[in-house]
Amino acid sequence: MIIEMDGLVRSFRRRRGVEVRAVDGITLRVDAGEAVGYIGPNGAGKSTTIKMLTGILVPTAGRVRVCGLDPVRRRRELARRIGVVFGQRSQLWWDLPLRDSFELLRVIHGVSPSEFAVRCAEFVELLDMAPFLDTPVRQLSLGQRMRGEVTAALLHAPRLLVLDEPTIGLDLVSKERLRSFLAALNAAGRVTLLLTTHDLPDVERLCRRLVVVDRGRVLIDGPLDKLRRRFGVRRELVVDLEAPAPPLDGLPGVESVTVQADGLRQHLVFSTEVTTAAALIASVVRRVAVRDLAVAEPAIEDVVRRLYGREW
């Protein structure tokens, strides 16, 4: 068992003495080797949970164990066993070459030079970091830096890797490179993943299990494919037309149509179980003259909102 949370509660006293329960009784078990997507809208309590898992915050009530340790009492010991990547907080040294940051973290975590050399070479190879290993971190692109951040979190071979919005702001190529690297690492049984994200493809690519939280509580906890089967995955096709047209009703697989600018722009929400984006686009262009179109991924908030009130 890597993570155990039992009735975990964390409340904050806001101004005027109002108490807010950011985490309101979460019970969760994560086994070694799992890949768990921990998702929910902003303010759902994701970051607060992570801070309690890593020993930064003291729980108000309930019990938490990570790698068998009480995170608050044994923060430093735990830090040797877990790795954490915050999309918006760097673990690297801004003025130093990436290579030097890795070396400093090696010393901080007390990893032997030989072990470090093997692991570092592997990650440099897999994440293609050789071209910028000697560049100061402040000169790296976001994608390059995130590869560095992930490596930095893995150099001490943690049993658990916690990722908080790891792909935020990355371009598609960088996202995909990072995802396939993490997926391979997890598939090889080398690290357990806990991932928070607003990016649904991150979850789809990496996680076999999804935990949806809202208002500090677990709404849903189960295998991703079961969730997908139950609720389907909806996407949205946005079409800009050459001339205003009435709503494009009656197309196969389309569940709702929203019209903007007197019918110049239309949003078609469709289910990927019934149709594909390609088939839908084909039937749209048969009916009207299309200027431009885009397929939008459903935001995780929409999924959560749709899940709300339904039985799992």
């Binding site: 904050f12 801070k51 890593t54 003291v58 040294w93 130093l96 400093l104 901080i108």
Partner: protein, 278 residues
């Protein structure tokens, strides 16, 4: 048991190596542009010199200050200056603690198997402050060679120990003052009034300050033990304020006590932070 103790020792040793490497990294990035670094050192030296000029100008109008002549005051100034420069170098960047808290950098530090305070100090060590300490040290050496001192083994040890004890005391004051920032978001101004206030306070004879300031900055904040009391002990001079003689030799002890208090305050502050997550 024995195994556990050994693991503890190994871990501590690797911790010390880690802090040393953090200091090394900070030094490398500060020394990356030697000319600019030299200028910054000179700036610090100039700041320290301006205080020296103030003292020398004052002594053109007065013969003694709080019962001390000019060379004796310069001994106080020298010990205080060396200590303050070193303390500022080691813990001065704790002033940016509010930024650490606001930007989440403190959280990031707590994800590593090292103490947060040690990490901040080690990775933000400000080497240009050596300019200040070196200037003060030069003045101290000159002043010590011109004043009348009956050198004994005790005084020889004290003259080495005093700047160290002074540095430790000022570092402790700094840590306690900056811990305020965990409770007050804008606590920095308050902290600075104590830290930079101590720079001025410790460089002069205690007798020139009003009695409430003596109590506050000399004893509650133990500024009198940084340079004033050790100087009296070196000079073999009875305290012009009539304070007991044993106080003059107590700076090293006060330094140890300060560290204990500062450590306790910092731990309490960090516990508060982890309890509130503000």
């Amino acid at each position: 048991m024995a195994l556990g103790a050994q693991a503890g020792r190994t871990r501590r040793a690797s911790g010390i190596t880690a802090y040393r490497r953090l200091v090394g990294a900070a030094a490398r990035s500060q020394l990356a542009y030697p000319a600019s670094f030299a200028l910054q050192c000179a700036g610090q030296a100039a700041a320290q010199t301006s205080e020296l000029v103030t003292i020398l100008v004052l002594f053109r109008h007065v013969r003694a200050m709080g019962g001390f002549d000019v060379r004796q005051v310069l001994v106080i100034y020298g010990i205080a200056g060396v200590s303050f420069g070193l303390a500022d170098m080691i813990v001065g960047q704790l002033d940016s603690l509010p930024t650490y808290i606001r930007m989440g950098r403190l959280d990031a530090l707590m994800l590593r198997p090292l103490g947060a305070l040690g990490q901040i100090c080690a990775s933000e060590i400000t080497l240009r402050r050596l300019g200040r300490s070196c200037t003060a040290l030069a003045v101290l050496v000159v002043a010590l060679s011109t004043v009348d001192i009956q050198w004994t083994v005790g005084r020889a040890v004290l003259v080495m120990l005093a700047p160290v004890a002074g540095t430790v005391i000022l570092c402790s004051i700094w840590v306690v003052a900056c811990s305020v920032c965990f409770w007050l978001v804008e606590g920095r101004e308050l902290a600075n009034s104590v830290t930079y206030g101590s720079s001025m306070f410790t460089a002069y004879p205690l007798g020139i300050f009003s009695s409430w300031l003596r109590r506050l900055m000399g004893f509650a904040v133990p500024g009198a033990f940084v340079a004033y009391f050790p100087t009296l002990a070196l000079l073999g001079k009875p305290d012009p304020l009539g304070l007991p003689r044993w106080l003059q030799w107590s700076s090293p002890l006060v330094a140890v006590l300060s560290v204990l208090v500062a450590g306790a305050v910092w731990r309490t502050a960090l516990r508060h932070y982890r309890g509130t997550g503000s």
